[in-house]
Amino acid sequence: MDTAPECSAPVVGAGGMPGEPEQAVSGALTTSRAGGGAGARAANRRRGLHDEVHAVLRQLQDILKEASLRFTLPGSGTEGPTKQENFILGSCGTDQVKGVLTLQGDALSQADVNLKMPRNNQLLHFAFREDKQWKLQQIQDARNHVSQAIYLLANREESYQFRTGAEVLKLMDAVMLQLTRARNRLTTPATLTLPEIAASGLTRMFAPALPSDLLVNVYISLNKLCLTVYQLHVLQPNSTKNFRPAGGAVLHSPGAMFEWGAQRLEVSHVHKVECVIPWLNDALVFFTVSLQLCQQLKDKISVFSSYWSYRPF
C-alpha cells in the first residue's frame, strides 16, 4: 500500500518529507483540465486510486475485524456463553487490597475483593451476588463503536466506485470518528463525583452488602482494569474542618469530602489495584494502526486536487 501504482511522485505521507508534491499536484491539475492524451493518463490514475482505496479499505476491515474479535461480540458466530477470564488485581506497593475479577465479554460476572483494614488488620471479603453481572460500559461502547466502523466499511465492496475524492474523505472521517471514540472510551474513564459512585449500582452488587464506610469503583483506563476502594469516615457536624465537596475525578484522593444522605463523609484511605487486560492492549494497538491508515489514505487523496475537489475523478 505504500506504492501508489500510478503516481510517481512520492505521496505526502504521515510526517514524512513531502518530496515533490508539486509534481503530483500539478499533474492532477492538468488532467482535470485537459483532455486527449492526458485523459487516458487520468483514467489510469483513477483506476490506480480506485484500487488503492479499496486495498486500504480491505486492510482496515481486516484490522477492525481482528479488533472486534477481541471484544468477543455476543451472537456473532460464537455459540454458547462467552468465555470467562479471571484477572487478579494488585498494586506493586501494598497488599492491602486484592481483587479477583471475572470478565465475561463486556460484563463483570464475578468479583472477589479482599481488604485488609489498615487500623486493625481486620480482613474483609466481598463478592458479587451470583445472579448479577456488572456491565463495563467503556468496553461495551468501544466494542459498539468498532462495529459501527466495520459497518461503515462493509457496504463499500470492491465493485463500489467512489465518485469523488471527497466521498472517500467523508467515509474516512466517519470511520475515524468511530475509532477515535472507541479509543477515547478506553483511554478516558468517566470522572465521577463521590456521591455518584455511592449511588451507582456497583455498590449494590455485593453479596454481603458493602459496609457504609466503603465505596468501590471499577473502570478501564487504557489497557488496564482498575478497581478503587475508598474508605470513608464520617465528618462530625461540629468538626472544625472546612467542608468542601469534591468534584468529579477518576481517582479521588484522601481528604476528598462529600455529602451522602444526611451525612458528611471524608475519604480517609484510597486503594487502587489494577491488572492489564491483554486483549484491550491489542485492541488499542489496532485502533491506533487503523487510525493511521485512515489518515494516510486521506493525505494521499488530498494530494490529488482532482480528488480533493468536488469534481468527479
Binding site: 462495529s147 466517519a174 470518528l177 477515535t180
Partner: protein
C-alpha cells in the same frame, strides 16, 4: 462548512469567534452563492406531515428545506445553518398541524428544533449524547407539556427528552443486558389500548416498554424497566415496524436479512436473506400483508406477504397454538439511475388521505433527492414478474442553481471579463479587509484579485451593475502558479503590522508576502510541505524579536513559522502524524504548542527548532487546557471530525458515566471557548463580506452583512457635526451616547481580548467629539482619524490613501444603505413604484430575487437558496423575478399603510426637491424605520407586551411636556431607535404601529417579511407624496431653513406632527431652551446609561431562556425612570 480566516474548524457558527459571527439581530445578510451549489451530503431525510416540504440533514451540518409541490416537484428553498457536525437524524417534534417543528440531532450532541415553515431555530441544546433515531411521542390526555422525544443512539437504552425545552426528562432502562439501541418504533394498538415502545439493541435484543401507562412513573422519575425482551439473533438492525393494519405483524429489517414476527408472542414467521453485496437499510408496512424494503444502494422491493395456507389445515402436533406461516411474493421494485453514491437514506410516507401521495423518497451522499410515487395498489406484471416503478422526480441543489442562475450571482462573477475559458474563475480563498473595504480573492489559477467589496457586491446583485464591472478599480497580483489556498491580512489582526502587507499561500507550498499597494512581491517563502492549508498569526502578547510571527499550517501536517520583518522561516515543525487542529503559544517559554487530531500534543522550542516534548492522552489534554490565553485554533479542511471528537470527548468526560442520567451540566463545549482567537477583525462597520468555504470541497460563497444599527448610527450624526456647530451640545450628546453604547459593545466583546485592548486606549486619548474611538464599531466615523494616523505611520500606504475624508465615508455609507434597500425592496410587484424608486431614491434594481439570510439566534440562521421565490406556491407563475419574500408581505404592507396616520408619510422636507439633498434623508428615514421594525420583531415577546404598559405612562408625559422637551424627544427617539425599546416619549402616532408590529410578532411574521412590508408601505407613501409635491410645494417657506437641520435629523418628530415643535423651531433659536433641556436630558441620559445596557443583554439572554425573569426586572427599570 468552514470559514476562511476563521478560528475554528467547523463551521459557520464556531467561526471567527462567538461574538463576531453571531448574526446580531440588526444584521441583514445577503448570500452571493455563485454558480456552484454548496455540497449537501444527505444523511437524514424526511417529508413533513403536510407533504409540502422535504427536510434533509447533511454531513456538512446544514439542513435543507425543499419545497414539494402538489405535483411532486421539488425545489430547494433554504439552507439552515446551526449544527457544527454531521446531522444524524431528523424527526417531527410537535403535532405538525399545530406547530411545523422538526428536531435535528448532530454527531456532536447538538440538538435543534426548527420551525420548518420559516427556517427559524426554536430551541437548541447540546447534550452529551449522540442520537441516531428520534421518535416524537405525545399523549394529550395524560401528559403535561408538549410531548416527548424518545431518543436512542450511542448510549444505553432510551432517553426521554422534553420536546419543548430539550431537557432530559428521564430514561427507559433495561433490566437485562442494557446496550445501545439501533432502532425503535412506537406501537399504537387500538386493540389493547396501550402504546408501547419497541426497540432493537445493537446486539439484536428486542425490548418492549409500556409507554402510555408509564407516563406517570416517568414524570415522577421512577425507573421503568422493559416489559418483555427477546433475542432476535441478528445484528445491525435497521428498522422495526408494526403493522397497524393487522395489528399482528412485526417487520424487523436487519442489514443482511429481514424478518417478520408475530407481535403477540414474537414468534418468527419469515426470514428473507439479502442477496450478495446487498444491505437492507429499512422498510415499512404499506398495507395489510404488504411491505416495502429498501437497501443501502437505493433499491426497494414491495412484497405481498402470502399466507402459506398450511397452517390452516395442519394443527401442530405438540398442541401449541395454531401458527400461520407466511412467505413473501415480490410485486414491484424501484431502482435509481446510474451514478449512485452510497449510502442512500430512504423513507416512506404512507398517507391514505386523498390529496396526499404514497411516496418513497431517498437522499444520497451526492445531495440528490429521488421520489417514487407508489401506487395505492401495487401489482406485479401479468406474467407475475415484478414491475418496476419509475422515478417520479429527482432533484439536487445544483439543479436549483442551474435553473435560477440569475439569482446565483457570485461576488467575483465580473472577473469573468478577464477570462476567456469558461468564464468562471474558481475562488479558492478569500479575505475581506474591512478597514479598506477590499475583498481579496485568491483563485484557482494562482492570481489574486483585490477589489472594492461594495462595488463588487453591487456589480453582482444589481441591474446595471454590469456597467460598474468595467470601471471597477481592481488589482491583480500574479506570483503563484497554483491555486491560492490561504490568505492572511496581518494588519487586520494587529494594527501594529504594516498595512500594505498581504500573505498568501498556495497549493504548491509557496508563501508570498505582498505589498498590496504597489503590487510587489516582497518575499517568497518555499515551505516544502504541501498545500498551505491555513495562515495564522501569533497573538499580540507573543513576540519574537519584537515582532509577531506568521504560522503556516500545511497539508503534510507540518507547521512553519515565518518572521515577516526578517523575511525568514524560523521553524519548520514536521513530526506531526495527524492533522494539526490547534496551535497555542507560550510567550514566556517561547514554545509553540501544537495539538493534533489524534489528541496528541507536540511542544516545539521556537528558537532552536527542537521538539521539546510529545505527549498523548490525559497529559496532552492538560497541556492544551492550561495555556488557555494564548491560543489559536486552527482551521483545516480535514480536521472538523477531529476537533469534533475532542468536543465529544470533553462532553463524555463530563457525563457521569452514562448509566446515570442525573442533572448533567450542559457542557459548554471547549471548542467554542477556545475560539476567542486573536481575532481583531470582528464584525465592524455597516458592511462586511464573509467568505464561507465548505467542508470537503473548494466551493465557497460569500455573505454580505449589513448592520442596520450601525448604518442608522452613521447616517445620523454626520450632518449634525458638520452643519450645526451651534447645537454642539446636542451633537456631542449623541456622540457621547454613541460612545457609551459602543463601549458597552466593546465590553460584550471583552471575550475577544485582543480585539479591544489597544483601541480603547486610543479612544481615551482623543477629544470626545472626535473620538469615535470606538474604532472597531463605528469604524467609518473614525476613518478620518485613522487616515491621519495611517499616513503618519505608514509611508507606503500614502499612494493608496491620499485622504480618508468623511465625505468619502459618507458616500460609502450611503452606498451601503442603498444596496441594502435594493436588496430589501419588493422589486417587480409594482412596476411604477420600481421606477419611482430608481428615480427618486437613486438606487438600482436587483437582477433577480435576492437570497436573504434570517437569523434566529446567535448561531442559528437560514439562507435562502437561488430559486426560493418559486417555492411560494401561491405566487404567480410568471413572477419569477419578483423579490417578494412572501405573499404575506403585501397584506402586511396594506395593514401597515392603513394604520399610518393620514398624510404622515416621510419627513416633509424643504421641497425644492433637489434629490441630492433629500435622498440621504429619505434613505435614513427608511433605514431607521426598518431598524425599528427589526428591533420590535426581534424583541422578546414579553418586552413587546411591556410596550403596552408604557403607553399609559406616556399620556402623563405628554402633558408635562415643555417646549424644550422636543430635543429630549429626539434623543429619546434616537435612543429608542438604538435600543428598540419604548422610551417614555413615544410619539402618539407610533403607538398604533408599534401595536401592529408586535401583533405581527404573535402571528409569527418573520423579520424579513415585516421589514419588507414596512419598507413597501413607507416607500409607497413616500412616492405618493413625491408625486404630489410639485403642487403643494409653496406653503413651505424659507422660514423653515432653521428647521432644516432638524428635519434632517428628526424625521420622526416631524412625522409625528407635534404642533409645538413646529412653532418652536420656527420661532426660537435652538439654543434658548438649552438650560431647561440640559437638565432634562441629563437626567434622561442617566437613565439611558442604566438602561442602555439592558436591551443588549436581553438580546444575549434571549437565547438562554431566562427571558421572563429578566423581563420583569427590565420593566421595573423602565417604569421607575418614567416616574422620575
Amino acid at each position: 462548512m468552514k470559514m476562511r480566516g476563521v478560528s475554528s474548524s467547523e463551521g459557520f457558527h464556531t467561526g471567527r469567534s462567538k461574538d463576531s459571527f453571531t448574526m446580531r439581530s440588526s444584521l441583514q445578510a445577503v448570500a452571493l452563492w455563485g454558480r456552484k451549489a454548496p455540497p449537501h451530503s444527505i444523511t437524514a431525510i424526511m417529508i413533513t406531515d403536510d407533504q409540502q416540504m422535504i427536510v434533509t440533514g447533511s454531513q456538512e451540518g446544514q439542513l435543507c428545506l425543499w419545497n414539494l409541490s402538489s405535483e411532486l416537484k421539488i425545489s430547494a428553498k433554504e439552507l439552515l445553518f446551526g449544527h457544527s457536525a454531521s446531522v444524524t437524524c431528523l424527526a417531527r417534534a410537535r403535532d405538525f398541524s399545530k406547530h411545523p417543528f422538526v428536531v435535528s440531532a448532530a454527531e456532536n450532541g447538538e440538538m435543534c428544533v426548527w420551525n420548518v415553515t420559516n427556517g427559524q431555530c426554536v430551541e437548541k441544546a447540546t447534550l452529551p449524547y449522540r442520537h441516531t433515531a428520534i421518535c416524537y411521542y405525545h399523549c394529550s390526555f395524560r401528559m403535561i407539556g408538549e410531548g416527548w422525544l424518545l431518543c436512542c443512539g450511542e448510549y444505553q437504552d432510551v432517553l426521554i427528552i422534553d420536546a419543548k425545552s430539550l431537557v432530559i426528562i428521564h430514561t427507559f432502562v433495561s433490566s437485562q443486558s442494557p446496550d445501545w439501541i439501533n432502532c425503535m418504533c412506537i406501537v399504537h394498538s387500538m386493540r389493547i389500548q396501550e402504546d408501547s415502545l419497541l426497540v432493537v439493541s445493537v446486539a439484536g435484543e428486542l425490548k418492549v416498554w409500556d409507554l402510555s401507562s408509564s407516563i406517570n412513573s416517568i414524570q415522577e422519575k421512577q425507573d421503568v424497566y422493559e416489559k418483555e425482551s427477546k433475542f432476535l439473533n441478528s445484528l445491525n438492525c435497521r428498522t422495526i415496524r408494526f403493522c397497524t393494519y393487522t395489528e399482528r405483524l412485526l417487520l424487523v429489517v436487519f442489514s443482511k436479512c429481514w424478518k417478520v414476527y408475530d407481535y403477540c408472542d414474537f414468534s418468527l414467521l419469515w426470514t428473507e436473506v439479502s442477496g450478495s453485496g446487498q444491505f437492507f437499510a429499512g422498510g415499512e408496512v404499506l398495507a395489510a400483508h404488504r411491505i416495502i424494503i429498501w437497501t443501502e444502494d437505493g433499491h426497494s422491493y414491495i412484497y405481498q406477504l402470502l399466507n402459506s395456507g398450511l397452517s390452516k389445515s395442519i394443527y401442530p402436533a405438540d398442541g401449541r397454538v395454531l401458527k400461520e406461516t407466511i412467505y413473501p411474493h415480490l410485486l414491484c421494485s424501484t431502482s435509481v439511475q446510474e451514478n449512485k453514491s452510497l449510502p442512500f437514506v430512504m423513507g416512506y410516507m404512507n398517507e391514505r388521505k386523498e390529496p396526499f401521495y404514497k411516496v418513497l423518497f431517498s437522499g444520497e451522499v451526492s445531495g440528490r433527492i429521488t421520489l417514487w410515487h407508489i401506487p395505492d395498489v401495487p401489482v406485479s406484471k401479468f406474467d407475475g414478474s415484478p414491475k418496476e416503478i419509475p422515478i417520479t422526480t429527482t432533484w439536487t441543489l445544483q439543479d436549483n442553481f442551474d435553473k435560477h442562475h440569475t439569482m446565483s450571482q457570485s461576488i467575483i462573477d465580473y472577473f469573468s471579463g478577464f477570462r476567456d475559458e469558461n468564464g468562471i474563475v474558481v475562488v479558492t480563498s478569500s479575505e475581506y479587509v474591512p478597514s479598506l473595504d477590499k475583498l481579496i480573492c485568491g483563485c484557482e489559477d494562482g492570481t489574486i484579485f483585490i477589489t472594492q467589496a461594495l462595488n463588487a457586491a453591487k456589480a453582482g446583485l444589481l441591474e446595471g451593475g454590469s456597467l460598474l464591472k468595467d470601471s471597477l478599480p481592481q488589482k491583480v497580483l500574479k506570483g503563484h502558479h497554483h491555486s491560492v489556498t490561504s490568505l492572511l491580512y496581518p494588519h487586520g489582526l494587529s494594527s501594529k503590522l504594516d498595512q500594505s502587507w498581504l500573505v498568501s499561500g498556495d497549493q504548491d507550498s509557496w508563501v508570498i508576502l505582498w505589498d498590496i499597494f504597489t503590487e510587489e512581491i516582497l518575499h517568497k517563502f518555499f515551505l516544502q510541505a504541501g498545500l498551505v492549508t491555513s495562515l495564522l498569526m501569533s497573538p499580540e502578547n507573543f513576540k519574537l524579536r519584537s515582532h509577531q510571527v506568521i504560522c503556516c499550517v500545511c497539508s503534510d501536517h507540518s507547521v512553519a513559522l515565518l518572521h515577516l520583518e526578517g523575511r525568514r522561516c524560523l521553524l519548520s515543525a514536521r513530526k506531526h502524524l495527524f492533522p494539526v487542529k490547534m496551535i497555542k503559544w507560550h510567550p514566556v517559554e517561547n514554545f509553540l504548542i501544537v495539538g493534533c487530531a489524534d489528541d496528541s500534543v507536540y511542544i516545539w522550542e521556537i528558537e532552536t527548532g527542537t521538539l521539546e516534548r510529545h505527549e498523548t492522552g490525559e497529559r496532552a489534554r492538560i497541556i492544551l487546557n492550561c495555556c488557555d490565553d494564548s491560543q489559536l485554533l486552527k482551521p483545516e479542511s480535514v480536521l472538523p471530525v477531529a476537533s469534533e471528537t475532542r468536543k465529544h470527548k470533553s462532553v463524555e468526560q463530563r457525563s457521569p458515566s452514562s448509566y446515570q442520567f442525573g442533572p448533567i451540566p450542559c457542557p459548554g463545549l471547549q471548542v467554542e471557548s477556545s475560539c476567542k482567537v486573536a481575532d481583531a477583525k470582528c464584525f465592524s462597520g455597516p458592511f462586511n463580506v464573509l467568505p464561507v468555504k465548505t467542508k470537503w470541497s473548494n466551493i465557497g460563497f460569500h455573505i454580505l452583512l449589513f448592520d442596520l444599527e450601525n448604518l442608522v448610527e452613521l447616517l445620523l450624526p454626520t450632518p449634525i457635526c458638520d452643519v450645526d456647530p451651534s447645537n454642539s451640545f446636542y451633537g456631542s450628546e449623541i456622540l457621547r451616547r454613541a460612545k457609551s453604547t459602543v463601549e458597552k459593545k466593546t465590553l460584550t466583546l471583552k471575550r475577544n481580548k485582543t480585539a479591544c485592548g489597544p483601541l480603547s486606549v486610543e479612544a481615551q486619548a482623543k477629544p470626545v467629539s472626535e473620538s469615535p474611538a470606538q474604532g472597531e464599531n463605528t469604524m467609518k466615523l473614525s476613518e478620518e482619524n485613522d487616515g491621519i494616523k495611517r499616513q503618519k505611520k505608514i509611508k507606503s500606504s500614502k499612494k493608496m490613501h491620499p485622504k480618508q475624508s468623511r465625505k468619502v465615508n459618507a458616500n460609502l455609507t450611503i452606498d451601503t444603505a442603498k444596496l441594502l434597500l435594493s436588496c430589501l425592496l419588493p422589486w417587480g410587484v409594482d412596476k411604477e413604484l420600481d421606477n419611482l424608486c430608481i428615480k427618486h431614491l437613486n438606487i438600482l434594481k436587483l437582477q433577480g430575487p435576492v437570497s436573504l439570510g434570517l437569523a434566529s439566534n446567535e448561531d442559528h440562521f437560514s439562507l435562502m437558496l437561488p430559486g426560493w421565490d418559486s417555492c411560494n406556491a401561491e405566487m404567480k407563475k410568471d413572477s419569477s423575478k419578483v423579490n417578494l419574500f412572501s405573499r404575506k408581505v403585501l397584506d402586511l404592507s396594506n395593514k401597515y399603510t392603513s394604520t399610518l396616520p393620514n398624510q404622515a408619510g416621510m419627513p416633509r422636507r424643504p421641497e425644492d426637491n433637489s434629490d441630492s439633498l433629500q435622498e440621504p434623508n429619505t434613505i435614513f428615514y427608511l433605514l431607521s424605520k426598518l431598524f425599528l421594525v427589526n428591533k420590535l420583531v426581534n424583541m422578546p415577546l414579553e418586552l413587546a407586551c411591556g410596550i403596552d404598559s408604557s403607553f399609559t405612562m406616556e399620556s402623563v408625559h405628554k402633558k408635562m411636556k415643555s417646549p424644550g422637551n422636543d430635543i429630549l424627544n429626539i434623543s429619546s427617539f434616537y435612543g429608542y431607535l438604538r435600543n428598540g425599546r419604548s422610551e417614555s416619549h413615544l410619539p402618539e402616532a407610533d403607538v398604533s404601529l408599534l401595536k401592529l408590529i408586535s401583533c405581527w410578532k404573535d402571528q409569527s411574521v418573520q423579520v424579513t417579511e415585516a421589514i419588507q412590508a414596512v419598507l413597501l408601505a413607507e416607500v409607497q407613501q413616500h412616492m405618493k407624496t413625491l408625486t404630489k409635491t410639485p403642487v403643494d410645494s409653496e406653503p413651505v417657506s424659507v422660514a423653515e431653513n432653521g428647521d432644516y437641520e432638524m428635519t434632517q435629523i428628526l424625521p420622526k418628530t416631524e412625522w409625528a406632527k407635534e404642533p409645538e415643535l413646529q412653532c418652536i423651531t420656527d420661532t426660537l433659536p435652538l439654543q434658548t431652551p438649552v438650560s431647561p433641556v440640559k437638565h432634562d436630558s441629563n437626567s434622561n441620559s442617566a437613565n439611558f446609561q442604566d438602561t442602555e445596557d439592558m436591551p443588549d443583554r436581553c438580546v444575549l439572554e434571549e437565547s438562554e431562556n431566562s427571558g421572563e425573569r429578566r423581563h420583569h426586572l427590565w420593566i421595573a427599570k423602565v417604569c421607575s425612570c418614567k416616574l422620575c
